[in-house]
């Protein structure tokens, strides 16, 4: 190509004026400040360093290490004698190729409480009954209570809060047989089993006992759900449990799963489109 030097100058000038788009293909993206491809990011953090030139230089170094160039410290403020808060701007050197981004989606959409209540009503024409317990040797009700109690967990209301749900919380150290009897008595749609203690694989023994008591999965069995901070997804297939929830699960996720799973039983997911 001839005259490329002039062309590059012209391009640079045009780019500086913001009149032509960034040459990156549309599938490769950078953060957007006020021009395509400018890569502008803002960040704030605190360093455990007294406010001053050392802290500022350290903050800039950190930003660079995070891949941010042309950084400027817009704001720094001492928080007490040994901490400094920073607001920093700069250009991220990184790009993201959207074609290479794979999204692991949960199998069910996350719904808000109103939506969940509405769907329960239209699916069942009654409230959805949930029986929950800590079974076997486990006396730690913190997990089951966080999911079931109105108070909920991390600002996310528990299942009792949902008008479409009827919650029976049996508490701790419930035997699998007692749980099974309660599920039948209450005509439970779902049974939640919490296992916090996993020392000596206590949860494995407890969950397999519960699974035995309820029998194999099927339309006649209530949905069997296990939860606990150290439970792993493989436990589901191992014991024929419908779903396992791990650390940090919110009641809203459990509720969303329940309406999704119940809808599956009532003829597929077609009516369930929600925000992911």
């Amino acid at each position: 190509m001839s005259g490329s030097g002039t062309g590059r100058r012209a391009t640079r000038a045009a780019k500086a004026a913001g009149t032509i788009p960034d040459p990156l293909p549309a599938q490769i993206v950078r953060p957007y400040g006020d021009r395509t491809g400018d890569g502008m990011v803002q960040m704030s953090f605190t360093l455990p360093v007294a406010s001053g030139p050392l802290a500022e230089a350290a903050a800039l170094r950190l930003a660079e290490a995070m891949g941010v160039r042309a950084t400027s410290v817009a704001h720094q403020k001492a928080i007490g004698p040994s901490f400094t808060f920073f607001v920093i701007y700069g250009r991220s050197r990184h790009t993201v190729d959207l074609r290479k981004v794979h999204v692991a989606e949960r199998e069910f959409p996350l719904l808000d409480p109103e939506d969940i209540n509405r769907r329960v009503r239209s699916l069942l024409r009654r409230r959805l009954t949930i029986v929950g317990a800590c079974t076997g040797s486990d006396a730690h009700t913190v997990g089951i209570d966080a999911i079931l109690n109105v108070k909920g967990f991390a600002g996310n209301k528990g299942l009792e809060y949902y008008r479409g749900m009827r919650v029976v919380n049996l508490g701790a150290q419930v035997t699998p047989d007692a749980l099974c009897r309660a599920a039948i008595r209450e005509r439970a749609d779902a049974v939640l089993v919490s296992q916090v203690v996993t020392q000596g694989d206590a949860h494995v023994e407890n969950l397999s006992a519960v699974a035995r008591a309820f029998g194999p999965p099927g339309p006649q069995r209530p949905l069997l759900i296990a939860g606990g901070p150290r439970l792993t997804a493989d436990l589901a297939s191992r014991f024929g449990i419908d779903r396992v929830f791990g650390r940090g699960t919110t009641p809203q996720e459990v509720a969303s799963y329940l309406v999704w799973a119940i809808a599956q039983r009532h003829g597929g997911p077609r009516k369930l489109e929600g925000r992911k």
Partner: protein, 536 residues
């Protein structure tokens, strides 16, 4: 701006109805005790420590006594009988009971009278410790000075007491007047108080006597450094309400979250258990000079803040009634409310002002605790920062006493160091720029604010009337508070409630009651009369 014209007759009626609704429940609480009340008595008499598998001595003793001789006469009398038989003290007797010894049945030979006199003496010693801690607080406040109101209330919640301490100290240096250490998720449902300093909790730090003491010492240091008294807050709630109150009284905590119905509604703790426990814990708080904080703000995190505003006021009136019955003075009643109306609502701020001014006018002597938005904090921290600024403005305009600082990262994570610092900057800014705004504004008579306040008060009266007709237990069973039905025989901890039998002995309660009788009947129109903070 603080002046709101209020229908005095209607306000009197609301108080009368609250008293009537509380009366049968109050009688129930006076006729019953709980395992936690009895454990608190033993703790107050110096029983400490835990045995095998971390079960506190007081739990072991009360459980064994209950199975062996029953709790109808209280736990202390059999313990004293054991001590006499073994020629040891209360602590020694408790340890013997843990080892399986069981006190003899009463022998009616007059020893009971001697034991009772001993018990009263021991209780006097315990209350003297509490009195000394209260005097210590008064003298520190005298020496260092009282922070100006509103007090700025901040939360720390790392789970590790040794991380909490520097954060709390940093917050105090940056302007916090009150530091609350959030408890670990689930502690309210534990029927025992853990022992020792703790470094692991779920989204909060366990309330233990050792943790109380460590934080108290640290905040006293910082108070001297910054030249103002820093208040320490924790939670006397859940199944161990009375015991936590006892420990707080011993370790000079200044404010305790303590609500007559919160545990029932939000934690599914049995209603009978909760009402009995709140009474004894409040009697201790009264003696210790502790300000209680009630939890009405929570109602609005479940129910709609416009539709359920009157449930907040109704609950405040009930909390006030039960508080006065337990001997709390009006200045100790930190009634709670919150800024939780959906910010998409036109005039949201105006209605928030109406609610805040109504509560201010109804409870002129109460150190009102105003809670920031949580329900409508979306995770958009920038919008959240503005929303919190509006909350601060409402609090300052309407003369709230305790402002809990909202975090822009509410609902995302426990506050970072700079979240807290930014929240303090937010409130300092609003307080400075709007310092005298309140005195420059008047409420338009018959306008939006007055109408809304009147509407909420009328709905409160209607609700309390219904509560009185069906009874408070039935009202709770029907879900009249926070849309959550709780039947009187449901929930956790009912098996820990015991009817007092003839000869029930609780010397702490006896001594505390001596002071209560005279104070618990406020003037019929409430503590407000003639105070000048009200309205015409």
């Amino acid at each position: 701006m603080k002046k709101l014209s209020l229908d005095r007759g209607l306000a009197r009626e609301a108080r009368r109805l609250a008293s009537a609704a509380a009366a049968p429940v109050q009688r129930f609480t006076e006729a019953h005790t709980t395992v936690s009340v009895e454990r608190a008595v033993l703790r107050l008499l110096g029983v400490q420590g835990a045995g095998r598998r971390g079960i506190p001595i007081v739990n072991q003793v009360v459980d064994r006594l209950r199975a062996g001789v029953g709790l109808e006469r209280g736990a202390l009398l059999p313990v004293l009988r054991m001590a006499r038989a073994l020629n040891t003290d209360v602590d020694g007797a408790c340890r013997a009971i843990c080892r399986g010894r069981m006190p003899a049945e009463p022998d009616h030979s007059g020893t009971d009278a001697i034991l009772r006199a001993q018990g009263i003496d021991a209780a006097r010693t315990a209350l003297a410790i509490i009195d000394a801690r209260r005097a210590e607080r008064d003298s520190m406040i005298g020496e260092l000075g009282e922070p100006t109101r509103p007090w700025i209330y901040l939360i720390v919640a790392t789970g590790n007491i040794y991380e909490d301490i520097p954060q709390a100290q940093a917050a105090a240096r940056a302007g916090a007047d009150v530091v609350a250490v959030i408890r670990s998720t689930g502690q309210s449902l534990m029927d025992y108080v853990p022992e020792g300093p703790t470094t692991e909790g779920f989204a909060g730090t366990y309330a233990t006597q050792a943790n109380f003491r460590l934080m108290r010492r640290a905040l006293d240091e910082t108070a001297r450094e910054v030249g103002r008294y820093i208040r320490l807050t924790n939670y006397a709630s859940g199944l161990c309400m009375p015991e936590i109150a006892a420990l707080a009284s011993f370790e000079r905590l200044d404010m305790m979250l303590n609500d007559c119905m919160y545990g029932i509604i939000f934690r599914d703790i049995n209603p009978y258990r909760t009402f009995v426990d709140q009474r004894f814990s409040r009697m201790l708080h009264a003696r210790a000079g502790i300000i209680i904080n009630t939890g009405e703000d929570n109602y609005l995190t479940t129910a709609d803040a416009m539709g359920a505003a009157h449930t907040v006021v109704a609950s405040q009136l009930l909390n006030e009634r039960f508080g006065l019955e337990a001997g709390l003075a009006p200045w100790q009643l930190g009634l709670g409310h919150a800024f939780e109306i959906n910010p998409q609502t036109p005039n949201q701020f105006v209605f928030e002002l109406a609610h805040a001014m109504l509560v201010r006018a109804l409870f002129p002597d109460a150190p009102l605790k105003y809670m920031p938005p949580t329900k409508h904090m979306s995770g958009d921290i920038f919008a959240g920062f503005l929303h919190n600024g509006m909350f601060n403005l409402a609090g300052i305009l309407t003369g709230q006493d305790i402002l809990l600082l909202g975090m822009m990262t509410e609902g995302i994570h426990t506050p970072f160091l700079h979240d807290r610092d930014l929240a303090l900057e937010n409130v300092r800014y609003v307080r400075t720029v709007a310092q005298d705004l309140s005195s420059q504004l008047r409420v338009v008579p018959g306008g939006l604010i007055e109408k809304r306040a009147a509407e909420v008060l009328s709905a409160t009266v209607a609700m309390l009337r219904q509560v009185g007709e069906i009874g408070l237990f039935e009202a709770i069973a029907r879900g009249m508070f926070a849309d959550t039905p709780r039947p009187p025989n449901g929930g956790k901890g009912l098996d820990g409630v015991v009817e007092k039998g003839p000869g029930y002995f609780n010397p702490i309660e006896e001594l505390l009651l001596e002071g209560v009788g005279r104070r618990r009947k406020p003037r019929p129109d409430g503590p407000a009369a003639g105070n000048g903070g009200g309205e015409r």
